[in-house]
Symmetry: C2
Subunit: 408 residues, 2 copies
């Protein structure tokens, strides 16, 4: 069902990053549910995580290990169990998982970051399963395993999500490759489900963190499938520094912007891929709100529309039921909104002019846009110069089926 | 599909209120889509309306007529067209409708309140259709037509919603009868879709308004079906004063509380009926949040759960997927929430104790509650003494079907 999305092709290895996958039997036998990512010495890692107060045990442990200042040498990712809502036992499982990976690699436990995704609230003996799979995982480590890893981290995803970009800096080709998973419980708040982006560029600590934050704000923090913020969101930016250019240690370095733009491009592609593969999605809907007094009110209007089940089902039905758009705009919380300055377009077709139906609008014209797989919505608030764009999808029978069936 | 709801029985007339319905051909021929309510001289009327900035033309006109201080003598209600997003032409249609009704009754146009519900954004020649139906409507006016009127105001509702209560004041039986419609686009903000409650008690102006406000806060402002706030929400409280007791002109009058409690009871019954008949609803879910620092944070948590498509689909599937409840509680916007003090019950079954799965909880026990048609959810936040209750329903295939089909 993924909208305008094909399996990844031509993924480029990132020097210093090796990956491997294995069948760990976390929830089901015979499913590749474990991914190990090994990072070369000298690699810098930045992370952002969910703001959900019920953040999962691996999120707590990953935050702690990153904050410890320890050099990060490995990521261990499992599907099948989110290790969230699991209390003290869950924290121990996450810590023990790191310790098991660290032991094999000859590192301290703080050198390992754990990630989990799957059912919330089920106890699981993760560390034992990971320890059992480690010999196989380590023997399979290779730089060309991005596609296998992108597949192994999937849950209700229907297609692996990964892409690569290259930019030239100081005459050297720099590579950026990223992968992400996520399809439901998608309304990231400072991060997304699970996303990993790696580059061989030498980006130092605070510059790396800034680059990640800037990329997030234009990608994962601008998507929504169902408005539900996960307990396990995490996004990691890895810089191995193996490209032969001198270190980029400040954001004023002109090379920083070149690299950041390429990272934004990868992050946006991955974030949009999550929406295109949103649970049950049959339409991909960019919502562009312009003319706001500030970004915040543009986002309020955009998310109000993106979270309206009435609007989402109308998109599913390809029905230009634009009254539902007006109802959402009018209840988005802008108390002093003058509706007479509001314009609404579907694609290039203006539906609403100055707060009421455009006299040139015809149902047939609206229908033409709604029949597309990609339906751009643009709202003009006519009260300022701020603008924002977010991406969402429709609400279909399949969304209900997937989520009514998920645990069975 | 309405959950635990049967057609109204034993509706009691309210002296001074006469009703009639007619086929006006507003959108479809052969459908009873017009309702006229005539109020006896001396009747007091209070109203609350949607806060949606795109409020419908009839909402604007009804507000204006109420504010004019004119004695209200009639309500004219149509389905089939919401007369919202219709600009200046829509305002004229609403004004002209009032004028047509007023002409027949020998009143000023300000004595009439207009109400519309149906599709948003379609132009319609309402006044002409209403004028044509008026002779028939006036000839049919009778005090025992509440059930017919409750049926004629339905749109996607599957069952008419109306009820009566009586209380004794000063040895006199006071009657309160109410009707409401609404099934989708239900997340009232200061009012609901369309609700009309009438009593023969002599409640004077400000006392009547206060009574309406107090009733709203415990009923229509505590329900949600889909989180979408309508452009046409309106709730009207009518006091004909025909009961033979002396006027109740202050809220300190001990009789006020007796009457108000009876009005609250009617309003709550109607509000819950809207949720029980929510679009596609197969489950009725009271959400009770206790132990908050204030009402606001209790409501934040309650609505976050009630609007989560993941939780709503789990209820539809009778799946005690309580991890989704935790994810919603954790992302409800209480930044300093200590998850270790959170408790969650399904019915009488405790699922979450101190932030993690209760060790006594079994899936079978959760399944038993989830199999019920009514599933009470209780959340203890453990940080204060405030509490709130709201009512919602599940999200089913039928919800998608109804809203993907609504205009066709």
């Amino acid at each position: 069902m993924a909208v305008g999305l094909t399996p990844p092709r031509n993924l480029l290895p990132v020097s210093g990053v090796r990956l491997a996958v294995a069948e760990g039997g976390v929830r089901y036998a015979g499913r590749r549910d474990l991914t190990l990512v090994e990072l070369a010495e000298g690699t810098q890692v930045a992370g952002v995580f969910t703001r959900n107060r019920f953040s999962a045990a691996p999120v707590t442990v990953a935050r702690r290990h990153l904050a410890s200042g320890s050099a990060i040498r490995a990521l261990i990712i499992n599907t099948g169990n989110a290790n969230a809502g699991t209390g003290v036992a869950g924290l121990k499982a996450a810590e023990d998982s790191c310790a098991a990976v660290a032991r094999e690699g000859g590192w301290t436990p703080e050198a390992v970051l754990p990630f989990s995704t799957g059912v919330i609230g089920e106890p699981v003996d993760l560390a034992t399963k990971i320890a059992a799979a480690l010999p196989h995982l380590r023997s399979q480590l290779a730089t060309d395993q991005w596609e296998g890893a992108a597949t192994a981290i999937m849950t209700t995803d229907t297609i692996p999500k990964a892409c690569s970009r290259q930019v030239e800096v100081d005459g050297v080709k720099i590579t950026i490759t990223g992968m992400a998973k996520g399809s439901g419980m998608i309304r990231p708040d400072m991060a997304t489900m699970l996303a990993y982006i790696a580059t061989d560029a030498p980006l130092a600590g605070s510059t790396l963190q800034r680059c990640l934050q800037e990329a997030m704000e234009q990608s994962f923090n601008r998507i929504t499938v169902d408005g539900d913020t996960s307990t396990n969101d995490a996004c990691i930016l890895i810089a191995t520094g193996q490209a032969l250019i001198t270190a980029i240690s400040t954001c004023d370095d002109p090379r920083y912007a070149v690299l950041r733009d390429a990272v934004v491009e990868v992050a946006q592609w991955l974030a949009q891929a999550i929406v295109r593969d949103g649970e049950g999605a049959s339409k991909f809907i960019p919502i562009h709100v312009v003319g706001g007094r500030n970004s915040e009110e543009c986002l309020q209007v955009a998310y109000r529309m993106a979270h309206s089940p009435l609007i989402k089902t109308a998109f599913f039905a390809s029905d230009p039921n634009w009254g539902r758009l007006l109802a959402a705009i009018g209840s988005a919380g802008i108390d002093d909104l003058d509706v007479n300055t509001v314009q609404v377009w579907l694609g290039e077709t203006r539906i609403v002019r100055d707060g009421a139906r455009d006299s040139d609008y015809t149902e047939a014209a609206g229908q033409l846009v709604m029949a597309q797989e990609e339906i751009p919505v643009r709202v003009g608030l006519g009260r300022g110069s701020a603008s924002e764009t977010i991406w969402t999808c429709d609400l279909s029978y399949d969304y209900v089926r997937i989520n009514a069936d998920y645990r069975s």
